[in-house]
C-alpha cells in the first residue's frame, strides 16, 4: 500500500529519528530498516530521504560521521543527538495523541483494525 506523499512527509522525520534512536545508520541501511520494520508499509522515496536527513542535520537533531567499512567502502553514518532524542519524544507524544484522536473520530475502528 502506498501512502499519499503529504501524509508520509509529516511523519517521515519522526520515523527516521525513531530508527536512528536504536543506533547509527547510513542512508541505504536506514531506508532498508524502515521498510523492514514497517513490513514494507512505509517506504520513503530516496529522493525524500537524503534531503530529509540533511534537514535533520541542519536542525542538529542528527549528527553525521564518515566511516570506512571493512570492505573499504566509505559510508556516512547518521546518529541521533540529544536534541533529536528530545524532539523524538515530543513528536511521539504528539503522534500518540493524533492516533488517539483519530481513533475516537473513527469510533474505535482504527484500534479494531
Amino acid at each position: 500500500m502506498k501512502f499519499e506523499s503529504q501524509l508520509l512527509k509529516g511523519i517521515a522525520p519522526v520515523v527516521v529519528l525513531e530508527i536512528l534512536s536504536r543506533g547509527p545508520m547510513y542512508g541505504y541501511e536506514l531506508c532498508q530498516t524502515i521498510e523492514k520494520r514497517s513490513h514494507d508499509i512505509l517506504c520513503l522515496g530516496k529522493g525524500t530521504l537524503y534531503p530529509l536527513l540533511y534537514n535533520l542535520e541542519a536542525k542538529r537533531l542528527v549528527s553525521t560521521e564518515w566511516q570506512t567499512a571493512e570492505s573499504g567502502r566509505k559510508r556516512r553514518y547518521y546518529a541521533i543527538t540529544s536534541k533529536g532524542t528530545g524532539e523524538l519524544a515530543k513528536q511521539k507524544d504528539q503522534l500518540k495523541h493524533l492516533v488517539n484522536g483519530l481513533d475516537l473520530v473513527f469510533g474505535g475502528a482504527l484500534s479494531l483494525a
Binding site: T48, Y50, A58
Partner: protein, 548 residues
C-alpha cells in the same frame, strides 16, 4: 573533479549522480560529499546483484525511486544551505544586506549626480558688489590703507614679540625711533586713508583653474566650488591682514615713541587712527577681516589708555578725541556684519542645487550641506535621500542668519543664562551646525570690542571732568550731569553701568563685570589657567588703571 572514475556502478547510475550534482549548483566540497554518499547508496543497493543485467534492472528501479532529478538536487541544495554554520549564515546575510545598501545608495546617489547647477552670479562679483554697498570708489579707505601697507618697512625682528617701548634698552629704543621715523610716510598715508567714510576690500577674480593649496586640485574643486572659492579668497585676504597687523603694531610703536617724546596730540592722533582702522575693518567684509578689525579696536583702546595714563592732556584735545570716537561708535548694536558670510551660503545653494527657472530646484551632491531637520532627522533624510529643495534650503539659510542677527543684538547680560538656540527652521542644516560656533563667537568678540570703545569714551570723559573741575567725579552720573556724556555708559556684562570707583582725587578704577557676570571688586581678569587677560573668563575686565 566531481566524478569518481574508479567507481564500478553502471554508467546510467553515474550519469544520474552527475546530473544531481551538477544541478545542485553548490559548493564543491558539499557536492563531493553528496556524490560520495549517493555512490555509496547505489553501491550498497547493487552489491547483491550477481549479473550485469540484474544490476541494470535494479539500477533503473533505484533511479526511478529517486524521482525528478531537478527536484532532488533542489531539495538537497536547500537542505545543505540550512546546514551552514551560524557564522557563515551571519556573514552571508550581512553581505547581502551590505550589498543591498550599497545598491540603494548608488541608486539614490545617481539622482544627486545627475544634473548641474546654473551659476547666474559669480561669487567674487557678488562679494565685491555686496561689500561696496553702492558707495563711490573715492569713499573707499582701502586703497589708502593698502598704500600705507606698501610703504611700511617690515617690522624689525626685535619687535616680533611686541615688547613695550618702556621695557627696551637704550639701543633698542634708538633703533625703534629710527624705524618709526623712517616709516612716517606709511603712517601719514594710513592717517589720511582711514578718514574716508567707508572701507571695502575688493577681491580679484579667481581663475577657473586656480586650485586650493594642498588639495592637488582633485577632490574639493569638483565637489564644491564654493569651498574652493572661499579658500582662494582667504588666500588673497590673509597676506593683507598680516600686513595690516604689522602696520597696526608699527603705528602703536610710533605712538609709544611720541609718548616718550611727550607729544600728547600726536599720540592721541595715532590712537584715533588705530580706532578708525579697526572700525573700518570690524564693520564690514569677511568675518576674518572683522575679527582683525575687532583686535585692532582692542589695541586702540589699550593705546589710548596708555597715552592718557602717561601724559597730561587738555580738555580740547580730550573733547575732540571723544567726539571723533563717539561718531565712530554711535551705533548701539555690535558691528558684526554677516552679509558676506550669507553670500557664501547662498553661493553654496547656487552651486548645490539645480535651477528649474522658477526659483526652485533639487539638491545635487554638494547640496547635502543644506540638509534640514533635527540632527537626529539627518540620518532619516540621508537614508531616504530626502534632501530639501532649493527653496527650503534658502529658507533655512535666511532663518539661520536672522537667528544669528537676533542673537548678536541681545546684550551679553540679557542672555547670560541662555544658550544660543537656533529656530526650527535653521537648527538643522549641516552648514548651520558647522558655522554656528564661529559666527556665535564673532558676536561675543564684537561685544567685547564695543565695550572697550565704551570704556575709552568713559575714560576720556572722566579725564575731561578732571581737567574741568580739578578733581575726579564721584560717580559716572556726574559725567552725564556735566554734559560730558549723553548717558551713563552701560556695562554689557552687568545690569548697570560700568563700575567706577573714585579712589582719590587723582586715582580711579573703571571695570566691567566681565564674562562671569559678577562683581569681583575690580580683580583683573585671567583665563582658566590663571594667566592675565584683558577679556579673561575669570575676574573683572579692568580698563583703568592700566594693567601691565
Amino acid at each position: 573533479m566531481d566524478r569518481n572514475d574508479t567507481n564500478s556502478t553502471p554508467v546510467m547510475v553515474q550519469e544520474t549522480i552527475n546530473r544531481v550534482i551538477k544541478k545542485m549548483r553548490y559548493r564543491k566540497k558539499v557536492r563531493a560529499d553528496v556524490r560520495a554518499e549517493l555512490e555509496a547508496h547505489f553501491e550498497d543497493a547493487l552489491a547483491e546483484c550477481s549479473t550485469p543485467q540484474e544490476q541494470q534492472a535494479l539500477a533503473e528501479e533505484l533511479i526511478g525511486e529517486f524521482g525528478d532529478i531537478k527536484v532532488l538536487a533542489t531539495l538537497i541544495r536547500r537542505a545543505k544551505k540550512r546546514c551552514r554554520p551560524l557564522w557563515a549564515k551571519v556573514m552571508i546575510r550581512t553581505g547581502q544586506v551590505v550589498g543591498l545598501c550599497v545598491l540603494y545608495v548608488l541608486l539614490c546617489m545617481s539622482r544627486l549626480m545627475i544634473g548641474s547647477p546654473t551659476i547666474k552670479v559669480g561669487m567674487v562679483d557678488r562679494i565685491n558688489e555686496t561689500s561696496q554697498q553702492g558707495h563711490e570708489d573715492v569713499q573707499n579707505a582701502w586703497p589708502g590703507i593698502k598704500r600705507a601697507m606698501s610703504l611700511l618697512d617690515p617690522l624689525p625682528n626685535a619687535l616680533a614679540d611686541h615688547p613695550r617701548y618702556s621695557d627696551m634698552d637704550e639701543t633698542q629704543q634708538q633703533n625703534l625711533a629710527r624705524y618709526v621715523q623712517e616709516n612716517q610716510p606709511a603712517f601719514a598715508a594710513l592717517n589720511e586713508a582711514v578718514k574716508k567714510p567707508h572701507c571695502w576690500r575688493p577681491f580679484n577674480p579667481v581663475p577657473k583653474d586656480a586650485q586650493m593649496k594642498g588639495t592637488g586640485g582633485v577632490f574639493v574643486p569638483q565637489l564644491m566650488e564654493t569651498v574652493r572659492l572661499s579658500a582662494l579668497l582667504q588666500e588673497q585676504l590673509m597676506p593683507d591682514m598680516k600686513k595690516c597687523r604689522d602696520l597696526t603694531w608699527a603705528l602703536n610703536y610710533h605712538r609709544q615713541w611720541v609718548v616718550d617724546q611727550g607729544k600728547t596730540e600726536s599720540a592721541m592722533a595715532d590712537s584715533e587712527t588705530l580706532f578708525r582702522l579697526g572700525h573700518h575693518l570690524a564693520g564690514s567684509g569677511l568675518l576674518t577681516e572683522q575679527m582683525v578689525g575687532t583686535a585692532i579696536v582692542s589695541l586702540a583702546c589699550d593705546s589710548l589708555f596708555d597715552t592718557l595714563g602717561k601724559l597730561d592732556t587738555n580738555e580740547f584735545l580730550l573733547a575732540r578725541t571723544q567726539q571723533d570716537l563717539e561718531s565712530l561708535f554711535r551705533k548701539d548694536q555690535p558691528w558684526v556684519e554677516l552679509t558676506l558670510e550669507k553670500a557664501f551660503a547662498e553661493d553654496l545653494i547656487q552651486g548645490g542645487f539645480t535651477d528649474d527657472g522658477h526659483g526652485n530646484g533639487r539638491a545635487l551632491s554638494s547640496g547635502v550641506f543644506m540638509l534640514g531637520g533635527s540632527p537626529s532627522g539627518w540620518w532619516k533624510q540621508l537614508l531616504l535621500f530626502n534632501f530639501p529643495d532649493r527653496r527650503q534650503a534658502q529658507k533655512h539659510i535666511d532663518s539661520f542668519f536672522e537667528d544669528l542677527k537676533r542673537w548678536h543684538m541681545i546684550m551679553p547680560w540679557d542672555r547670560r543664562n541662555q544658550t544660543f538656540v537656533l529656530s526650527d527652521q535653521s537648527i538643522s542644516t549641516i552648514y548651520a551646525v558647522m558655522q554656528k560656533p564661529a559666527l556665535e563667537r564673532a558676536g561675543d568678540l564684537q561685544w567685547q570690542a564695543k565695550l572697550g570703545a565704551q570704556a575709552a569714551l568713559t575714560v576720556l570723559s572722566i579725564k575731561r571732568y578732571q581737567v574741568r573741575h580739578g578733581m575726579l567725579p564721584d560717580t559716572l552720573n556726574a559725567l552725564a550731569v556735566d554734559g560730558l556724556m549723553k548717558t551713563v555708559p552701560r556695562d554689557f556684562y552687568s545690569d548697570g553701568p560700568l563700575t567706577y570707583q573714585r579712589k582719590s582725587d587723582t586715582d580711579f578704577v573703571l571695570y566691567s563685570w566681565g564674562e562671569n557676570f559678577q562683581d569681583d571688586q575690580g580683580m583683573p581678569s585671567t583665563n582658566r589657567e590663571g594667566e592675565s587677560r584683558r577679556f579673561g573668563s575669570q575676574g573683572d575686565w579692568v580698563f583703568w588703571p592700566i594693567l601691565r
